[in-house]
């Protein structure tokens, strides 16, 4: 048996044999295929040793400070001076430092209780039943064995924080784009008779056609049943309504006492009283977020700010009630800085925005 002391020399030998192509001496999750090696390399690349070293230096610095209280006092004074000078910095510079557009990020909680922070880094999570891969296309599942565990109801949970977005591919090949502050619960394997996921927040679905296995999205208090189609669902808890917008195909929205069939270009709304109705809409503004755009058509500022604040992860405070009801039409790229948005609404809406840290105060222009 090998001991801890053997790690360094053994790894030398194994690396040599890999480089000599004697793969059989080396078992790495079932073989040192180049692909596996590259995966493992990517996993190590996601940890930055230089940043970590800077942190150690800070620790050393703190220890020094304990001995040299005088020096600490000096730093304090310098710190005050710096802070005082910083106050003069202009608004735009401060803005870009504290308020940034959202980016690709999500938290994946697996059924076994482990938690993974996902972002731009390519990684592979190996579990007993499947490989979970994260790459530029988002998250995807690769099951080891199709038949195994068909009857279990184990669910994974993908959570997108405020200021985040993420895409994923479900086991049947359907694609889901998740917007900020959303949550999708999905199973390892879909059950034999239906494909069911649960959503809070906003998501865009591109469902693979499979009439034998209807696809069902569960939201707070309704179910959306589809066969194969593209549609957007918005069901934030604090908005207290479920808005389903159909782009292609057909879907059926139902709650306990009602059901509505949607055709492309139609939108269903379910409000908190349980009332369910549909209307004709221009689809694009409702799905533009997936293409990286904000598009608003005569929308109230309060509703616009609800959407925008999720993406930039900010709080909004209205100083005048009437400002909430000003309506706007317009569009911009989501990945632009927040200052672009502020300039836009200040220019066309006769409002002023005052930004303190991550809180935006909106008042009537005087």
């Amino acid at each position: 048996m090998k001991t801890w002391d053997d790690i360094y020399d053994s790894s030398d030998k194994i690396l040599k044999s890999i480089l000599e192509q004697k793969g059989e001496e080396w078992q790495l999750d079932g073989g040192a295929s180049p692909d596996k090696l590259n995966n493992r390399l990517q996993q190590q690349f996601q940890y930055n040793p230089f940043l970590a070293y800077q942190k150690l230096k800070k620790h050393r610095y703190r220890r020094l400070m304990r001995w040299y209280g005088m020096a600490a006092g000096m730093v304090l004074i310098v710190g005050f001076a710096w802070g005082w000078l910083q106050q003069g910095a202009d608004r735009e510079q401060l803005l870009t430092e504290t308020i940034c557009p959202g980016n690709k990020k999500a938290v994946l909680s697996l059924a076994d209780g482990s938690v993974w922070y996902l972002g731009d880094t390519v990684m592979t999570i190996l579990t007993a039943r499947e490989d979970i891969r994260v790459d530029s296309n988002g998250l995807s599942l690769h099951t080891h064995n199709q038949t195994a565990g068909n009857n279990d109801e184990v669910c994974h949970l993908l959570t997108i924080p405020r200021g985040g977005e993420f895409a994923m591919t479900l086991p049947d090949g359907s694609r889901v784009w998740l917007n900020s502050e959303s949550e999708l619960r999905f199973p390892l394997h879909f059950a034999a008779n239906e494909r069911k996921v649960a959503l809070t927040g906003e998501a865009y679905f591109e469902i693979e056609k499979d009439s034998a296995h209807p696809f069902i999205v569960e939201t707070n208090n309704s179910e959306i049943e589809v066969l194969g189609t593209d549609f957007n669902v918005r069901s934030y808890r604090n908005e207290k309504r479920v808005v389903t917008t159909l782009v292609e195909g057909s879907v059926c929205v139902k709650n306990t006492n009602n059901r509505i069939l949607l055709k492309p270009g139609e939108q269903s709304i379910l409000d908190e009283t349980g009332r369910l109705w549909k209307q004709q809409v221009e689809v694009y503004p409702y799905v533009a977020w997936k293409e990286g755009r904000f598009v608003f058509r005569k929308q109230r500022l309060e509703d616009i700010m609800a959407t925008v604040s999720r993406w930039y992860n900010i709080q909004v405070q209205f100083e005048d009630e009437e400002v909430k009801d000003i309506t706007f039409s317009g569009g911009m790229m989501r990945y632009e800085g927040f200052e672009v948005f502020v300039k836009m609404i200040e220019a066309i809406g006769s409002v002023t925005c005052d930004i303190k840290e991550k809180v935006v105060f909106i008042a009537k222009h005087r």
Partner: protein
């Protein structure tokens, strides 16, 4: 790999350059190792950093790099076990708790060796230029010279030339024996 004895004595004396090198060589591998052990990537950097800080604050002296590697991997292992134990205790209270992670010391050592191999491969690649690294990465994925040239939009000759230069750099860093060994991989892959 170059100047191993100096590295260890400087590390024992807590000299900056040696500690930066320590991080460069071991930090990513130890993090990946902790992630595999705990089966999650949340908090692994804290585990590794705690070990490093512990080492910095201690008066430990290592005779050679073998002992250093042994100490580091073992320290991360025992901290990871603590984390698993605490986490599992709190999760047992929740209903959806489905699996339990256990690692024998033997398995943990095998895993440490794997991670150490990857770390050394990473260091070999780190010394190359961006284009050389791209070429090397593609060849690790099993692509042929012609395919690499097409993917990177460069001529086949450039691929071959960059391959030779990369080989020279690796030989310089790893020493003569390594160079000979690497010649095989380069000529097999390309």
């Amino acid at each position: 790999m170059v100047d191993r004895e100096h590295f260890i004595t400087d590390l024992n004396k807590k000299k900056e350059a040696a500690w930066l090198q320590l991080y460069e060589e071991f930090y990513p591998a130890l993090c990946a190792y902790a992630a595999k052990l705990t089966h999650e990537n949340a908090g692994v950097e804290d585990i590794v950093q705690e070990c490093m800080v512990g080492l910095w604050d201690s008066a430990l002296q290592f005779p050679n790099i073998k002992a250093l590697a042994a100490w580091l991997y073992k320290a991360v292992y025992s901290r990871a076990l603590n984390l698993i134990r605490d986490r599992d205790n709190s999760r047992r209270l929740l209903e959806n708790y489905t699996s339990e992670l256990t690692w024998s010391e033997e398995m943990a050592i095998e895993l440490a060796i794997e991670e150490s191999v990857i770390a050394k491969l990473r260091l070999v690649l780190a010394d190359l230029s961006e284009q050389q690294r791209a070429i090397m990465n593609l060849s690790l994925e099993g692509y042929k010279v012609r395919e690499i040239a097409q993917t990177l939009n460069i001529s086949e000759n450039t691929v071959k030339m960059q391959k030779k230069r990369a080989y020279a750099i690796v030989r310089e860093r790893m020493g003569e024996i390594w160079g000979v060994l690497l010649a095989t991989i380069f000529f097999n892959f390309f």
